[in-house]
Symmetry: C2
Amino acid sequence: MTKCRLLVSHTRFSSNPRSSRKSTSSTYSSSFMNQTIGILGGGQLGLMLIQAGIDWNLRIHCLDPDPQAPCKDLCTQFTVGALTDYDTVYQFGQAVDVLTIEIEKVNVDALEALEREGKRVYPQPHVIRQIQDKRTQKRFYQAHNLPTADFILTDDRAHVAQLAQDVPELLPAFHKLGRDGYDGRGVQRIATPADANKAFDAPGVLEKAVDFEKELAVIVARNADGEVRTFPTVEMAFHPELNLVEFLFSPADITPAVDEQAQAIARQVAEAYGIVGLLAVELFLDKQGKVLINEVAPRPHNSGHHTIRANRTSQFEQHWRAILNLPLGDTTAHGPAAMVNLLGDPGYSGPAQYEGLGTLLAMPGVSPFFYGKAQTRPGRKMGHITVLDASVAALKEKALLVKDSIRVISH
Amino acid sequence: MTKCRLLVSHTRFSSNPRSSRKSTSSTYSSSFMNQTIGILGGGQLGLMLIQAGIDWNLRIHCLDPDPQAPCKDLCTQFTVGALTDYDTVYQFGQAVDVLTIEIEKVNVDALEALEREGKRVYPQPHVIRQIQDKRTQKRFYQAHNLPTADFILTDDRAHVAQLAQDVPELLPAFHKLGRDGYDGRGVQRIATPADANKAFDAPGVLEKAVDFEKELAVIVARNADGEVRTFPTVEMAFHPELNLVEFLFSPADITPAVDEQAQAIARQVAEAYGIVGLLAVELFLDKQGKVLINEVAPRPHNSGHHTIRANRTSQFEQHWRAILNLPLGDTTAHGPAAMVNLLGDPGYSGPAQYEGLGTLLAMPGVSPFFYGKAQTRPGRKMGHITVLDASVAALKEKALLVKDSIRVISH
């Protein structure tokens, strides 16, 4: 009988997800507990996915090129291998029931082959392919009438130099590498034609710089049944030099009208992609009160880490619910929250040491997360700190205190 | 330099914890991140400790007799071995920096030997020894003027039979096995002299049954510096037959005066034992409004599982903070919470199946935790469900709905 239920569920999941919309709640059998899930990538996001999966005793395999990847001791089975290698990804996927990612830079051809054979791969390979290149991402927004900054696709550095001369109204602009940019890398500011020498000599996007009021983000989830849920809109403050999120506040300090725009856009993008899984939507609020899409990531995201402590369902649990086609979780916040990224102090490289830990740990409503990286470097993401308080004003003050209380250095 | 800091910290921790009270916050170096922690027991509580430890990238070894113990895939190193065997425990302890427990039934002689050699063992072996036998537990309360129900220590079944005749004012009473009782086992109700045949034929305690209004619990933590923090007082409703907690509500619906008693007693017990770590204090509120200690457990406890979702610091993080001698965490609750134990349905034994999962997972503010046990049995603890709501009235209603929505059965 158990076997039979499992088979029924498998068929249901893998054939045509849309057709199962009318399924009754009884079809949510316990089969998800008996499945093996594979994660491409064994980094910090994978680790937090595994941590959330412990609540439901999920069996999780990880693939990562680094034998010392954060997930190595925590997943049920750890495989060392290249995420960009067809055979490696294909074979890894063969051994699991559901396959997901914690990083976009994976071999999508292998995922497509697995999908064709009936494997559940979420987010779907075609969505990963669309998103992993900023060029197709931008064209997708354009094609779906989703608001985003003006842009021109570029072939190489010479092309950027020519555009900077010929289309001066696009400047100041950002030149973004089409593929493989991450954590602030892969972006260069082009203010004048002379800056074109900083452009990437590879396919990219030259995007008009948005004179923005704030940077916002909305994490949205969609399951195979088509249920969509968003987390509250958050506001991010970036480090001036590192182009990394330094502070995040939830909820964002915006008008209800702006919030409605942000929430609606996030839903629209998720539905336009038809994504199954989590989608992190980074947004600009411009000086005219208009919300524009900056970029998206089809996975858990740094802008949702606070949800572990601050919301009824975390982004990580929500990802599991979405890819296992379970009802999505309640994203209600307990109250206002902040997230402070713990970055390696400028000027220190070497074995990491944490100055001010005692002060930090004694602060009420403060939850630090340490990623356990042995070595610090200037601006390296060493952890993050979630801050809760009853009032927004007190929270903002506390977030600054938190930031000042701790330093990652090296002697 | 790193090595040096580590040594300083070790000395500080292991020599005389009291002497370090005046230590400045800078002595909370990051050394705790580089330590290996051992847990005696690799069960569900160990699993939840590991899960919380992931936030800080703690390196954790587990010892458990069951090769299939829940922690086997999640700890950094898993050892199969008897927790009651001297050599096994001693050798396991040799390889770690800090040793703790998730179950009391361990070889305390080995822990004492390790402690004598300077190993940090928390809770301390003498505390475990005091608590693991209900006889010494009761005598301890008496010796420290801590309120508890009247009792007489008993040698064997014949002794109980004789007392039931000679001291009728003690009846109705509970006969409790001195050692090795757990989860409702090891307790028999003795209402009349004729019931004495149900008494245990081993050393125990005959304790006058408290005509109680409610059963309460307070989880308290104490670190080596002597800092003490309690979680809010909770109220438990036990299953009428199984003697297992069926519902838990936080905070308890009690008067401020009763709450003060409960909180004060929990602190007093923790301080009387001088425990380092978590202490779960189960209490009776009698019909006269007096709070009495029922029993204690020197570890994380079922009555604190809701803290994972409902409080700023969970009981599991608090245990780490306590045994690593870090400042204790803020135990503020986000709001009212309930916990429903997910027990195997009566009349079903075999491979576990979950009926009603879809309904359960779709309920707002409801977080199920599944322990992944393959087999169900009547009354077996298969998981628990945390329920949050803005108001206590709505919460109580929702907890009942949750209870009715899901069944663990077998076909």
